[in-house]
Every structure is written in C-alpha cells, then in structure tokens.
C-alpha cells in the first residue's frame, strides 16, 4: 500500500471512530466527498483503490452511515457495496477469532476445538474471496477510468460473489459466538445486519447472476476464457 493510501486509511479510521457516535458530520467535514474529485479541481485525486480501502474501513466501523453515497455516484454503488461488504466481513471474522481465542469452555479456548477451527477456516475463505473480488474490481475500474460499462463483468462477478458469501459468513460468525453474539449490546450485529441488508441492495444474487450469465452466454464456451484473459 502506498504511503498516501496508508495516510488516507489512518485518517479514515480516526474520523470514522468519531462518526460512530457523532454521525456523518465529521466525515463530511473531513472532506471525504472529495476523494474521487481530481486534484486540479480541489479534490483528493484518489482512485478506486483508495475508495476500496476507505469503504472497507467504513464497512467495518460505520456500516450504517451513508459513506458510499457521499463518495461515489449512483452507477458505481454496486461496486462500492462490494467494498463495504468486504470490510464488514473482515470485521465479523476478526470479532470471531477474538471471541474463540478468549471464550473458554470445557477448560480451554473454543479456538482449540477442531470443529470450531474448521468452521472459521470456511468463513475465512469466503472473506478472502470477497476481499480479492473487491481488490480485482478496483484494479479493473482504475484501468478503465471508473467507467462502469467497461467494468460490467467485474462489477457483476464481484457483487454476486460478495452476495453469495453473506450467508456463510454471517451464519458462522453467529454460530461461533453463541448467545452473546445475538445480543444488541455486543458488536457483531453491527456488521452482520448490514451484511444481510447489502446482499439485497444494488442487485441481489438472482439479478447479477442473470446479467452475468447472459453476458457469458454471448461470449460462448471458448469465448469466456478469451474474454477473461483479454481484460
């Protein structure tokens, strides 16, 4: 990660921590609306790699605030949602690891039990897949100047993959947490409820699967590989 993006992320973490109780005020004041605005127009001059990084932090820390709407145009909201989802999933995984390494039953931490380890490995694979999808989508969007039409395959594939991870990730996160994860007080629901909401927002599974499937059908069997490797 570049030094500029590291700094951006540090700022985002500090501002979002404040915004968690204060609402959108600090985020607007910090100028996040200018993230994608070119430098010569007085903006930050960021790319989608920056947006992805910031929205992953937003997805983990302030999933209920309209940060994506502040930064990104309507046409790119599906792509933005993938980043939010990746961030929220990463937070659900971090909370789950922390919980099973701390919570003791039968005289040892839950994380010592193979059944729990295998579940969390499954969950981690899903989270890594969504993080990779978000990163690859960012690479494509930056390569085509943020033109959603030129990144149509990647937007569909990434949002669909993220949607499909939601069920596994939320189910395993809650399962390994036990009853404490089902309370309003504990932090887990702050990311799992948004994940459930985002699965249906800006295109659910069926919506993107049909769009992507029709696009691939037009490529044809051999053409799919040619199209994938030409992008």
């Amino acid at each position: 990660m570049s030094a500029a993006r590291e700094m951006l992320c540090d700022t985002a973490r500090a501002v979002f921590a404040e915004a968690a109780t204060a609402g959108m005020g600090p985020i607007a004041e910090a100028g996040f609306a200018l993230l994608l605005v070119p430098e010569d127009e007085g903006g930050f001059g960021g790319d989608w790699g920056d947006v992805n990084a910031v929205l992953q932090i937003a997805g983990a820390m302030v999933p209920d605030l309209p940060v994506a709407e502040l930064i990104v145009s309507e046409a790119l909201q599906p792509a933005a949602t993938v980043s939010l989802m990746a961030g929220a999933m990463g937070q659900a995984l971090a909370l789950s690891i922390e919980h099973v390494n701390t919570r003791q039953q039968f005289g040892r931490p839950l994380g010592k039990f193979q059944a729990v380890q295998q579940s969390l490995a499954v969950m981690a694979c899903e989270v890594r897949a969504v993080e990779a999808a978000a990163a690859a989508l960012a690479t494509r969007l930056d390569a085509v100047g943020l033109d959603p039409a030129a990144a149509d395959f990647e937007i569909a594939a990434a949002k669909l993959r993220a949607n499909r991870a939601v069920g596994v990730v939320t189910a395993i996160a809650h399962q390994v947490h036990g009853a404490i994860g089902f309370t309003r007080e504990y932090d887990l629901n702050r990311v799992t409820i948004p994940l459930m909401r985002w699965r249906g927002a800006h295109g659910n599974d069926a919506y993107w699967a049909l769009i992507l499937g029709r696009q691939v059908a037009e490529f044809g069997g051999e053409g799919l590989w040619e199209a994938l490797t030409a992008r």
Partner: protein, 379 residues
C-alpha cells in the same frame, strides 16, 4: 492472518503476445483427443505432446538456460499453465516434474543433480512422481516410516509408498524418507531422488473408481541408491516438502480442472439460455473469476519470494469446493441421461465420478482447513 492484500499479477514482457503464441501453437499441436480427456487434463498422459511442448520451450520455463530451461519469470510460466489447462491440453506426463520436482531440484539440488535431471525435465522427456504418502502416513505425513540408511556404498531404502500418481510412467521419484535412526515425527526426514529402474523397486497399479490407472503402490526392498541421491540438507526433508507443497496447492489447476464442463454447459445453453441456466452460468463464472484473482495473487506472492502457505490453502479449499460443486449443480439443472453420448453428458459423468478426489489429492480438505485455522491464529 491479516486482511488479504492482492499481490499485483504483473509478469514481465508482453503477456498478450505470450498467450497468442501459445494459442497458435496449440491450434496446430494439441491432439484433438477425447473431450473427456480435456477435463482434469493434468492427469492426461501424452508423451508425444509433452516432448513437443518441451521442444517449443513451454516446460521448465523458469529453470536456468544452462540446464535447458527458459530463464523465464514464474508468472510467465503461470500464464502458460493457465492457457494449457483452459485448452484442456494433455499435460499429465510432465506435470509433476515441471510443477515441483524441477523447481525443487533447482532450489535444493546439487550441481550434479541439476545437470543430470533438469535438461530432461525441460525437454518434456523426464517424468517424476512424489513419494510422500504411505499406508500409515496419509494426512499424518510426519508418520512416514520408509527408511534410508547411509552405508559405504550409498543409501539403503526399505519401505513402501502409496497413492503415488504416475509412478508407473515416471523415471524418478522424489521421496520423503526417514534417514535418522530413532527419529520421530517431522525430525530426521530427508528427500532422496530415486531412479525408478533401480533394482528392488516394485510398482503395482491401483485402479481408481473411474477405472483409471493413475496411482500406484511402490515397494522398496533393500534398494541401493548413490550418496548423491540426497537432495538438499540431510534431516531437512520436512521443511523442503512444506515448500514444495506451496507450489502444489495454489496453481490454476485448482480451479481449471473442470473448465471443459463449464465450456460445454455454456455451448449447450446457447446464446440465449433460459433464466435458470443463465443464472447458474453467472454464478459459476463469478466464482471462477474470483478464484483466478486469488490464484494469480498467490502466484505473485510466491514469485516475490514470500511464503503463501495460507493463501495457497485458501485457493485449494475454494477451488476444490467450486470444482466439486459444478458437476452437481449442472446435473441438478440440465436434463441429461447418465449414458448419453453427447459431450455435456460425458463430461458431467466423468467429473461427477472424478470429483471426490479433488479434496483429497494434494492435502485433504480437513488438513487444508487446519492450515488456514493456524494462519488465523487459532490453536
């Protein structure tokens, strides 16, 4: 395990040209063969094809030129491998030698071993198998009991390997053996490079449930190999094997083995598929695209000299699940008789039967998930 950083996949040179050259070469040189052999094609043996591929410079690409290699970047090799797999080329004969034995000899082997074996590997003429599993050492690889004792004449090997893919057509085996008497678990193990025509070696076929002869039992009865058969450091076999497995787990074969079925499904569905079929194609394409990103990133991390053990395991776990899932989901939605002669039906049947092995070979699902869990900081 920190958040997943996508390593940029950025091979040197003109990648588009590399793909185009290879596609043109395949158009002329790839045997038409049976459609079923195009699925799971890294198990398809064709020595003539391997020789031609080697002569064209597509085997041993990353090995130094002085050993007959191509001195190419590992990510250029990655591009070639994914093209070969997507085309369903019969790469089974040289697959293991090219993927792991050659690189391992280059990394840990002696000068003599490099000169002796690498040129044959790069020509696509010298084939290798991996001697890891034993009757009592499957997922629990550290339970290896095959011994090699150093004597005045060389190493004396006694014991048995099993599930050895390609032993019946391979020239050499890179075996993990116990060289230190009284040693236990992952200490005291070493890697030996064994010429399979050495007296005292018996190879017996094991026919798999698809009716194929891919794997074997290999018996060692007082087999004598030279002192120079030791690869790398005596007693460091476990560490060397672990590095080797990283090469084995993250490649494009973990998500492209069933590509022929996806191609057949798309072709059978036509340009305007009914919604349910289109949705299935969309979901499979999204998964494949994601897996390709993960696999390329892992290859880039490996090429950067880092250890992607956990990432490689994620690729294998998700890739195996994808490839086992695909034939089941295709069967659930496409009307196709079990014995129909068309391509889609035959591929479907072959992959339904082959797919249980996907989450066994190269490390079982349970072992792989254990590695991931350790990477998460559990246990």
């Amino acid at each position: 395990m920190q958040g997943f950083a996508l390593y940029p996949f950025d091979p040197p040179g003109d990648v588009a040209a590399l793909r185009a050259e290879l596609r043109a070469w395949l158009a002329v040189n790839q045997p038409q063969g049976d459609i079923v052999a195009r699925a799971n094609c890294w198990a398809s043996f064709d020595a003539d094809f391997s020789r031609a591929l080697g002569a064209a410079g597509y085997i041993g690409m990353t090995l130094p030129e002085r050993y007959g290699g191509g001195d190419r970047h590992p990510l250029e090799r990655y591009v070639v491998i994914e093209e070969l797999l997507a085309a369903g080329a019969p790469v089974g004969a040289h697959w293991i030698a090219d993927r792991q034995t050659g690189p391992l000899i280059q990394r840990y082997g002696s000068e003599e071993q490099r000169e002796c074996y690498l040129p044959g590997i790069a020509k696509g003429e010298l084939y290798a198998c991996i001697g890891l599993s034993e009757p009592g050492a499957g997922s629990d690889l550290a339970a290896v009991r095959t011994t090699a004792r150093e004597t005045a004449e060389g190493w004396r090997i006694n014991g048995q390997k099993i599930w050895t893919t390609g032993a019946h057509f391979s020239h050499i085996m890179l075996a993990l053996v116990r060289t230190e008497e009284g040693s236990e678990r992952n200490a005291g193990l070493s890697q030996l490079l064994i010429d399979l025509d050495t007296p005292g070696i018996t190879i017996r076929p094991i026919i798999d449930m698809a009716g194929h002869h891919d794997f074997n039992e290999v018996f060692f009865d007082d087999v004598l190999v030279p002192h120079g058969a030791l690869v790398g450091m005596r007693g460091q076999g476990w560490q060397q094997v672990t590095a080797e497995l990283g090469l084995e787990r993250s490649g494009p074969e973990r998500y492209l083995s069933s590509h022929a079925l996806l191609v057949a499904l798309i072709d059978a569905a036509g340009a305007q598929p009914e919604p349910a079929v289109a949705a299935l194609i969309g979901e499979l394409a999204a998964e494949m695209w994601t897996l390709r990103q993960l696999s390329m990133s892992t290859a880039a991390k490996l090429a950067a000299g880092e250890d992607p053990m956990v990432e490689a395991s994620v690729v294998k776990e998700l890739g195996n699940a994808f490839e086992q899932d695909m034939p089941r989901r295709v069967q659930a939605i496409v009307t196709s008789g079990w014995d129909e002669p068309d391509n889609l039906a035959r591929l479907l049947r072959a992959l339904l039967i082959a797919s249980p092995s996907f989450s066994l070979r190269g490390g079982t699902r349970e072992v792989i998930r254990g590695i991931i869990a350790r990477g998460l900081g559990l246990r």
